[in-house]
């Protein structure tokens, strides 16, 4: 069976679901961030697969570059917030952080 667009789409669907599972179930905030990275990678696979098979030339790849840029910005900000949370609460477990202010 020839590898076509559907193979890449199903790969990205499974990767997206794994990332979603990680975001929903993990207690540690850093692992939630890792789940978000998996989800962004799944979206990028879709963009580039459509860019290759969907006749969109390079537009999909250009948008994938923007996704990577935003993922980098998101990781930097989110880790700064997580470090602050750790300073305040001495834990990064998202189920124990239930106060906006101490």
């Amino acid at each position: 069976m020839q590898i076509t667009l559907t193979h890449y789409l199903i790969l990205s669907a499974i990767l997206f679901s794994l990332g979603l599972y990680g975001v929903v179930t993990r207690k540690n905030a850093i692992l939630v961030l890792m789940g978000i990275e998996l989800i962004l990678n799944a979206a990028n696979i879709n963009f580039i697969a459509f860019s290759r098979y969907g006749g969109m030339q390079l537009d999909g790849q250009a948008i994938a570059v923007f996704v990577i840029i935003l993922a980098a910005a998101e990781a930097a900000i989110a880790l700064a917030i997580v470090l602050n949370i750790y300073k305040q609460f001495k834990t990064v477990n998202v189920d124990e952080i239930n106060k906006l202010k101490e």
């Binding site: 790969l11 993990r26 990028n44 969907g54 930097a76 880790l79 700064a80």
Partner: protein
């Protein structure tokens, strides 16, 4: 089954197995290091899709930048006395149901839809040149906005991370 298919399944296996370890492993360090293999596998998938520039950018930015940040985050937010850093999970059963439903419906939609596919193998050439031209012409405004967003995000991250000292003085 030709070589292309075998390479695709190889990279897909790497991506899915290491993503599974990221999600299911109890040890945070194991998760962080198998995320490395996920990113490398996704880069291989990009190369199979004729996206050489994105593949290299993926390795440079994700592996060199984001994964480093995440590993530092793990080390700074845990008391690393021993290598075993465990973490718990919560409400796994509803999450597993939700995720299985999402995966099933997505796969069903992807499989059932009659995608318009460009037949044949496109001319294989380096995409860096044409991508650079696109960023300087079609996508000039988003490109500049993205650069400002990155600058603001990095300054903001530095501000947030060392806020307590500057505020107390």
């Amino acid at each position: 089954m030709n070589l292309f298919d075998i390479i695709f399944y190889f990279f897909a296996l790497i991506v899915l197995v290491s993503a599974g370890i990221v999600v299911f492993s109890r040890n945070i360090i194991h998760s962080a290091f198998s995320l490395l293999f996920t990113f490398f596998g996704v880069a291989g998938i990009y190369i199979l899709l004729n996206a050489d520039f994105i593949a290299v950018a993926q390795i440079l930015i994700y592996v060199g930048g984001i994964l480093m940040l995440l590993v530092f985050g793990v080390m700074l937010t845990n008391k690393v006395v021993n290598v075993e850093i465990k973490t718990g999970t919560m409400h796994t059963l509803p999450a597993a149901l939700l995720t299985a439903m999402t995966a099933g419906s997505l796969c069903g939609i992807f499989y059932a839809t009659d995608w318009t596919i460009v037949e044949g193998i496109p001319e294989i050439k380096s995409t860096t040149n044409s991508l650079g031209e696109m960023f300087m012409t079609t996508y000039l405004l988003p490109f500049e906005v993205a650069s400002v967003v990155l600058l603001v995000a990095l300054i903001g991250a530095a501000m947030i991370a060392r806020r307590d000292k500057s505020l107390q003085q």
